[in-house]
């Protein structure tokens, strides 16, 4: 579709961009401090809500009405963006995640007061990048959108002016990120040279049409370029071996932003991996037809191995952490591995499981970070020691954290259990020895992960606080958000059908 027509379909992105510019302009003006405190988060939430309402309005007929809703298959901006339920589902996810992040950020000491306007503007630009990345259908768009997300995350990671730790985390993130994007770009240029196109449709046609790649050389080159590109994608979702940045960055970044960082880029990275691999290497709507050059590139094997290694490494490293933020960072690496199981399974069930798990993961992980943010605000640290005796000091906060931890471990009756169930069901549905082995690795890992989540629980309920730690105020937006998220976790653990319907709708690529 031509440019002018296409702009009508990216109204949410336009709203986000406009609000970001307004925030940047307002932050350039001097005004009283009181106004600054409320107006910036208010405006940011206004922009996010406007974008979300446009999206919900557009998709609600599709999800629950049964008709495919968005004109699926047609592509915007001459093929740069796709309009399909997958993109819209992940857009809704990242906009919700950004909204939660704004709510948690209110009153956080980690964010300099004089920079509130820029902070919220950057959050909106990052959200804009994530929305575009979840719909990107062209490697050029993938690169630009991904860098938008990355640059804003570098800046926001280094945002905390009080602590050198934050600056240091930001610098490490820039260095790792620069290398990853350079490697990804080199892979893209190789891929472009081999198949002569950058759009996913064009690449799909080139791969299926060209027949076999010319000899062993061509196969090597294609595999290498896919591995290089996967380095860039894997870096966004923090998959092994591109996860090294993750614990340091999560620990150093301001906690409210860590909540977004652990969810948003991971979600859109998953959407990108799904779209890239399944629309280039397979015929739409089928799992088995692998002909031409795409049969010679072992991409499914690559993702499966990365999935198994990622969850094992993440869980093992989490066992020995004493800092709760670091522990959650390794747990988020492990979750990237779990979600990649769904990507490996593929097909209708696999896509559905990935979408569903991503939504559930968003709720429980952001909730857990919200609680860490509360505790950190009250006691100035996020080590495991300051969680001691939380069950006595702040029963409500401890209860909320317990719900999130149980959900992260994947136990009933929480949403995390439902999410894991869908992931394993997708793998079993796929059948085959190696898929079953992967499921087995996943189950083993879930059992291992119980240990370190239980450590936090033990610290909260069984251990006595050694000094008199402060109580935790619960009359603030962050606490209310955390409580609401814990309700959502429990609710979705019992009545998951609406979410499952939406997830099924998002997998329309396979209808």
């Amino acid at each position: 579709m031509s440019n002018l027509v296409s702009f009508g379909y990216i109204v949410p992105e336009l709203l986000l961009g406009a609000m970001a510019v307004i925030l940047f302009l307002l932050s350039a003006m001097r005004r009283r401090n009181l106004l600054r405190k409320t107006i910036f988060p208010g405006l940011a939430i206004l922009g996010l809500m406007a974008a979300l309402s446009v999206l919900v309005n557009r998709t609600s007929g599709g999800i629950f009405g049964g008709d495919p809703g968005c004109i699926s298959g047609c592509s915007l901006f001459f093929g740069l963006l796709a309009t399909d339920p997958l993109a819209d589902f992940f857009r809704i996810l990242v906009i919700s995640a950004t909204t939660i992040c704004v709510l948690i950020s209110i009153g956080s000491p980690a964010l300099p007061k004089g920079r509130t306007g820029e902070y919220h503007g950057l959050l909106l630009v990052m959200c804009l990048g994530m929305c575009l990345l979840s719909a990107a259908n062209h490697l050029l768009m993938v690169y630009v959108a991904m860098e938008t997300v990355s640059l804003c995350s570098y800046l926001l990671t280094g945002w905390d002016a009080r602590k050198c730790r934050s600056r240091e985390a930001g610098m490490k993130y820039v260095l790792f990120g620069g290398v990853a994007s350079g490697v990804m770009l080199f892979g893209m240029s190789l891929f472009y040279g081999l198949f002569g196109d950058l759009s996913f449709q064009g690449l799909h046609l080139a791969l299926q049409g060209s027949g076999a790649l010319s000899g062993a050389m061509g196969q090597w080159a294609a595999t290498l370029s896919v591995v290089f590109m996967f380095a860039g994608f894997g870096y966004k979702i923090a998959a092994t071996p591109f996860h090294m940045w993750c614990p340091d960055v999560y620990e150093g970044a301001p906690t409210p932003f860590t909540a977004l960082l652990s969810v948003g880029p991971k979600a859109v990275g998953m959407a990108l991996i799904l779209r890239f691999f399944y629309s280039i290497f397979l015929f739409p709507g089928s799992m088995e037809t692998v002909i031409g050059a795409s049969g010679q590139i072992p991409w499914l094997l690559l993702i499966g191995i990365v999935s198994a290694v990622t969850m094992t490494l993440g869980n093992l490293a989490a066992l020995v952490q004493n800092n709760v933020k670091r522990l959650l960072a390794y747990s988020s690496i492990a979750h990237a591995g779990y979600i990649l199981m769904g990507v490996t399974a593929g097909g209708q069930e696999g896509f559905e499981a990935v979408s569903l798990y991503m939504a559930v993961y968003l709720i429980m992980n952001m909730g857990a970070f919200a609680v860490v943010s509360l505790v950190e605000k009250a006691s100035g640290s996020e080590e495991l020691q300051v969680f001691r005796g939380l069950g006595k000091r702040a029963p409500l906060v401890a209860l909320v954290m317990t719900i999130f931890l149980i959900s992260l471990a994947g136990l009933p009756p929480t949403a995390g259990f439902i999410g894991k169930l869908y992931l394993f069901a997708a793998l079993l549905e796929r059948g085959g020895f190696w898929f079953l082995m992967l499921a087995l690795v996943g189950v083993t890992n879930s059992v291992v992960s119980l240990y370190f989540y239980a450590r936090v629980l033990k610290s909260m309920y069984m251990e006595k606080a050694d000094t008199d730690l402060p109580t935790i105020p619960i009359r603030n937006p962050a606490a209310v958000t955390a409580t609401a998220l814990s309700f959502a976790t429990l609710f979705l653990g019992l009545f998951w059908q609406p979410l499952a319907t939406a997830a099924r709708w998002s997998a329309t690529l396979f209808h």
Binding site: E118, M141, L224
Partner: protein
């Protein structure tokens, strides 16, 4: 023949200068080598008929990015002992050489081999007009997104690097 001479001259210089970037102890020397390296690459771009890109390479890289590097190096005003001793453990060097060798071998092996020269292209290939038509036609959206990205990067950098929080 002329093309070959130019390629070997600029290509050789590119390699030497890139090596200098990574071995020089003083960042100022590295930055200078990088400027030379980027000029050589701009010349190579011109030889690939990417005239517009060659001009932009000089303007953006040498004119903007490297000046920024030099400014920051100047601002930091690193003393000699702060440059860090150039002590490289033998294992690290060996590891890097091995890794580079493997990477290079791998990349070199897999590059599609061609013996024929470049095909002919029209006169308008790589001109401002052709690239411009692409940027304002099919690639309009990334172009606009890039503007937002630059705005965010500028504001964010200032907010981070500014000393006083007003």
């Amino acid at each position: 023949m002329g093309e070959a001479i130019l390629f070997w001259f600029f290509g050789g210089l590119t390699c030497v200068l890139a090596l200098l970037v990574i071995v020089m102890r003083n960042p100022v020397h590295s930055a200078m080598a990088l400027i030379g390296n980027l000029f050589c690459i701009a010349a190579l771009f011109a030889m690939l008929d990417a005239h517009f890109l060659a001009a932009i390479q000089v303007l953006v890289y040498a004119g903007a990015i490297l000046v920024l590097f030099l400014f920051v190096i100047m601002l930091l005003n690193l003393k000699d002992h702060e440059l860090g001793n150039a002590r490289q453990t033998a294992t690290k060097i060996a590891g890097a050489i091995l890794l580079c060798w493997v990477a290079f071998k791998l990349i070199f092996r897999v590059m599609p081999s061609t013996t024929a020269g470049f095909p002919a292209v029209g006169d308008d290939y790589g001109t401002v007009e052709t690239v411009g038509r692409f940027l304002f036609g099919p690639h309009l959206l990334p172009f606009e997104v890039a503007s937002i990205l630059l705005l965010a990067a500028i504001l964010g950098s200032v907010a981070i690097a500014k000393k006083k929080l007003w």
